[in-house]
Symmetry: C2
Subunit: 204 residues, 2 copies
Amino acid sequence: MRLGVLVSGSGTNLQALIDARDRGELSPAELAVVIANRPRAKAVERARDAGISAEVVDHTRFGGDRRSFEEALASCLDSFGVEAVILAGFMRVLSPTFVDRYPRRMLNTHPSLLPAFPGVRAPEQAVAHGVKVSGCTIHFVDAGVDTGPIIFQAAVPVLDADDAASLHRRILAEEHALLPKAARLMAAGALICEDRRVRVVEAA
Amino acid sequence: MRLGVLVSGSGTNLQALIDARDRGELSPAELAVVIANRPRAKAVERARDAGISAEVVDHTRFGGDRRSFEEALASCLDSFGVEAVILAGFMRVLSPTFVDRYPRRMLNTHPSLLPAFPGVRAPEQAVAHGVKVSGCTIHFVDAGVDTGPIIFQAAVPVLDADDAASLHRRILAEEHALLPKAARLMAAGALICEDRRVRVVEAA
């Protein structure tokens, strides 16, 4: 299964996918293309260093027209034969029309234990709320913001000395372990959704 | 510090407080009185078996007048010299007027990782939502429903085979460990709130 990875920033989750591929742990998923919505995203460099095609579809070039931006994204994904999409720190909300192109074939990683702290700056929200446990969520993308069926979650402690940055680092380490695993299982057809509950059906 | 424990049901969290007292782990907190809002609450029996005064303030006797119900609760607590309150499976929402009688001296235990799944039937909500991690929260009570500053949380896995009951049992085991600990620390003056963040200041 050919994956397209959408990124906005430094791309540490992309790097985790690349590292899993290099260890032979991503197959039958393949990294077909990385698309950044920001020209200077460090993720573009990581992709090229790893021998993966990297493209930029700059959302600022579409004058706020999300439909045109998403059509450009879709064209780019199609031109690389992409069958499934990974949002790896992609900071644009996608329309239901775009999401519907990849039913149960689009994953997102989010730095909180959803449904707590959806949206932007989740670690900052968690610290401000004073929770003692946070974590990460790997989920299918649906039409809502961070609302799709949950594949994996991992908990991490929130320490007295934490700020948003130190908590986010602890959470990212968990995301880096779980996102490649979820990508592989999705490609292997091993993720079964029953209503909102997701089960892994292979002996992983 | 003399504690009043408010209960509605079987009282397993009350039992955890009693067991901690019997092990000498609750002091300087003392169990002064248990008050149930349901005459047949099993918690009443547990209290009496443990040599603790138990009273019933039946909310159905007040014809839906919450203020009168709460005044009766407050009178009963005052008559036992109660300085702080533990909600241990107490299923009535208390008004801000009542809550304000015990500033940072009222604890609640809730069977989810708040702010996820506040309100009733939290384990059922968690299973229906398909989360992979849930847990419990011990928190100070404020004017909202399950919104007060968080003292402790513990995470538990949600398994494929779980229903609400099996998940709830796993969560309760964590509540039973953390609620007596929080009660002791509150009584010892060891819980410090800074905005919403709660720190433990003694070497516990």
